[in-house]
Symmetry: C2
C-alpha cells in the first residue's frame, strides 16, 4: 500500500446557532466560500466532494445533499457523495476525503458538512436524532438520546464516584471557550450553579449538560502534502485517520462506562501517527453531553478510567492548562449541527496549529486531535494533525 501524505489547505465555517433566515444552501455557501477563499482555490479545480448531513430528510425534507452542495458551490459535474454516520458524519466524511487523496485517486477533495435543525420543533428534532440509535430496540421502546447518555453517566457515577458538579464543569469550561469564538452559538460564560439549576432533561443530565439544536456548516479542502504550499503557507498535515464501529445498542456493549469504538479508533490513530496521548497539545472531543467528554478523555488515553472527571473539574483541560480541550467551545458551547460537527472540529484544530485561533489560541500548539462520535458510541472517528513545516 503506497500512500501519500495529505494536508488541509483551507477551512471555513458558517456561524453556528439558530439561523432562522438561512437555509441549507445558504449555510453550505457561507462555509464553502470561506474554505475555498482560505485555500486560495477556485471551484473548478475541485475533483471530488464528500458531503455529510445526518438527518436532512427529516429536518428539511432534503436528501441527496452532497450533489446539492457540489451544485451550490459550483463544482460542476464532479463525483459527490453524502456520508451519514449520525453525529460522526463529518468525521466520516473527512476520513473518506483523506483516503481519496492519500490513495492518489483524487488530488483536490472538498469535505463539507451541514445541518439545518431549527426548522422543526425540538420534539421532532429529538425524534430525528433518535435515528442514531437502534430504532426498533431502543428508541421505539421509549428511551431518548439523553436517556442513553444518562444511563452511562449514572453508571460512571456509581463505579467511579463521578459527581454532577464535575460533569457540570465540562459545560462551564466549554462555554468559557465558546465565549472567545466568533462562530459559536453560545458566546457567554456559565457557572457550575447555572448548570446545576438548569432544567432536568434525563437524570442526572440537565439542560446545560446537553449540546443544543443548531444550524451550521463547515468545509475543508484537502490536497496532497507535496502540493499544499501552492494553496496555503501553513498547510496542516493529517498524520492519522482512524475509525471504528460497535453495536448500536447500548445494552449489548461490553461496558457502559467506555466507548469501545473510541478506544479502538484512538489506538489505531496513535499507531499510524507514531504518537502517544501525551504528545497531543490540543483536542476537540465529542461532548454531545457532559458525560461524553469525560468518557472521551479516558477512552482517548488522556486519563485512566475514572480519573477524568476530577481532572476536568480541577481545571486540567481549560485553555492553556495541561491539555487544552474543546477550545472551539465543543458541541456544547459552539453548537452541534450534527452533520457539520466533525468538520468544524478539524477547522478548529487547523486554526490552532496555524496559530490563527486568536483569543483562544493554545500556546505552542504543534499536535492536534479530533474525536467525533456517532450515536451512543456505535461509530467513532479519530484524526491527528501536525503543522506541515
Amino acid at each position: 500500500m503506497i500512500m501519500r501524505d495529505v494536508a488541509i489547505v483551507g477551512v471555513g465555517m458558517s456561524k453556528f446557532g439558530e439561523r432562522w433566515s438561512s437555509g441549507l444552501k445558504d449555510l453550505m455557501a457561507e462555509a464553502g466560500i470561506a474554505a475555498l477563499e482560505d485555500a486560495n482555490i477556485s471551484s473548478h479545480e475541485i475533483e471530488m466532494l464528500y458531503g455529510s448531513t445526518m438527518a436532512s430528510g427529516r429536518f428539511v425534507g432534503q436528501e441527496h445533499t452532497a450533489a446539492l452542495m457540489a451544485d451550490q458551490l459550483g463544482f460542476h459535474n464532479i463525483p459527490a457523495v453524502r456520508l451519514e454516520n449520525a453525529c460522526a458524519s463529518g468525521g466520516s466524511a473527512l476520513r473518506q476525503g483523506y483516503i481519496a487523496v492519500a490513495s492518489g485517486i483524487h488530488d483536490i477533495v472538498v469535505v463539507g458538512g451541514v445541518e439545518k435543525m431549527t426548522d422543526v420543533t425540538s420534539g421532532e428534532a429529538s425524534t430525528a436524532l433518535g435515528g442514531a440509535g437502534d430504532q426498533e430496540w431502543e428508541l421505539f421502546q421509549g428511551i431518548t438520546f439523553p436517556g442513553l447518555y444518562a444511563l452511562m453517566a449514572k453508571r460512571h457515577m456509581y463505579e467511579y464516584g463521578t459527581t454532577e458538579e464535575q460533569m457540570a464543569s465540562v459545560s462551564v469550561k466549554n462555554h468559557d471557550n465558546a465565549s472567545k469564538n466568533q462562530y459559536a452559538q453560545f458566546r457567554r460564560a456559565i457557572t457550575i450553579d447555572d448548570v446545576m439549576r438548569s432544567k432536568m432533561v434525563s437524570d442526572p443530565l440537565k439542560l446545560l449538560d446537553c449540546s443544543p439544536i443548531s444550524d451550521g456548516a463547515a468545509v475543508a479542502v484537502l490536497v496532497p502534502l507535496e502540493k499544499a504550499k501552492k494553496y496555503n503557507d501553513t498547510p496542516i498535515k493529517i498524520v492519522a485517520s482512524a475509525q471504528a464501529s460497535d453495536t448500536l445498542r447500548l445494552a449489548e456493549r461490553d461496558s457502559l462506562t467506555e466507548i469501545k469504538a473510541t478506544k479502538i479508533a484512538a489506538q489505531n490513530a496513535y499507531k499510524q501517527a507514531k504518537l502517544e496521548a501525551k504528545d497531543i497539545d490540543v483536542v476537540e472531543v465529542h461532548d454531545c453531553f457532559s458525560i461524553a467528554e469525560i468518557l472521551a478523555m479516558e477512552d482517548l488515553g488522556f486519563y485512566k478510567k475514572g480519573k477524568a472527571a476530577k481532572a476536568i473539574a480541577d481545571g486540567e483541560t481549560t485553555l492553556n492548562s495541561k491539555l487544552s480541550v474543546n477550545t472551539s467551545g465543543g458541541l456544547k458551547g459552539c453548537g452541534h449541527p450534527v452533520g457539520a460537527t466533525g468538520i468544524k472540529q478539524a477547522a478548529e484544530i487547523v486554526w490552532q496549529l496555524r496559530g490563527d485561533a486568536k483569543e483562544r489560541q493554545v500556546k505552542n500548539a504543534e499536535v492536534g486531535m479530533t474525536h467525533n462520535v456517532g450515536g451512543s458510541g456505535a461509530t467513532a472517528v479519530v484524526h491527528i494533525y501536525k503543522r506541515a513545516d
Copy 2:
C-alpha cells in the same frame, strides 16, 4: 496513482417486494448472509463496510444504517460508513468500495444496500423520495418525482416523436425479464395494453411506467483480483468505476432530454475500461420510469439521441437480442428498494457473467455494465465488469 484490480467474489440479495414481515435488519441479514456464503468468507475477515440507504430516517426512523448493518452481519468494530445519493446510493457505495480496495487501503470490503419502504403510506413514501430533488425549488413548489420525469418524457416526445406505446414497451420487456427472476417483486408478464390502460400518474407516465415502492437488500463482497480465486472460482473484475453529478434542479439543466451526469460517467467509464458501447453484452440501466430507460440507452451511447425508443419497441433490447437490457427485470419489474438498487444491479451482472442467471441467462455474456441514477439525474454512477478468467 498505483491502483490494484478489484473483483467481486460474492453477491447476495433478499427477495424484493412488499416484505411485510421483514424489517430493515432482517433484509440486511438475508442479503448479507447470502453474499458471505457466496464468497465463502467469514464475517470476521471483513475490513470495511460501505452501506447505502436513501431515506431510512423517513421510512423507518433509522439513520446510522451502516454501523447497524456491520453489527447485524457480525463485522465487529470495523469502520462502517453509510452513503446516500438518492436512488444512486447503491452505485455510489459500490464505487467507494472499489476505491478502498483498488487503492490498497483495505483488502476485503463489503458494500451493502437496503431500503424498507412499505412501512409508510405511499404518499409519505413519495414525499420522502422527493428529497432526491431540490426540496426548496422543486418539491416544495408542488412537483412530484413522477412529474419531473413526465416533463422529460413530454419533451422527448416533442423533440423525437417518442410515443407512449414505445415507453410502455420498456415496462413490458422488464416485466418479462422479471418473470424469470426469483428475487423479483413482479413475476408476471404484462402487455402494452395493460400499461396504456393503467392509471395516469403524471401525464404521460402511467402507473405501469413507474417503478414500485419496495423492500429489499443487496450485498457484494469486493477483494483485490490477485486474491479473488481464494474466495470464488469465477471472480468478476470491475474494469471501470465512474461517477458524475449535475444540478439537482431539472429547470437548470442544459437539456431536458438527456442526463448529462450519465453521459460524463459513461465516457469516463469507457475510457477507464478501454471499451466502447458496442462491447457491452448485458447492462442493467436505471429505469425508475420507462422514459428513464430510453434516456439511459441514448446517454450510455447504445443509441443516438432520439433513436432508442423505437429500437426498444422493436425488441432490440429484449433477452438475448442485440443487447440484453435489465435482465433482472430492472427497477420496474424487479422492484426498487432505493438504497439496494445499485448493488442489486451489480449482483445481476455478476450472475450473468458467471453464467449463473438460469432462465434469464444472456448467451456468451463477457462484458457487463450497471448504470445507477440519483434523483432526476443529479448523480449517475456507471460500472463495467468482465469475467476475470
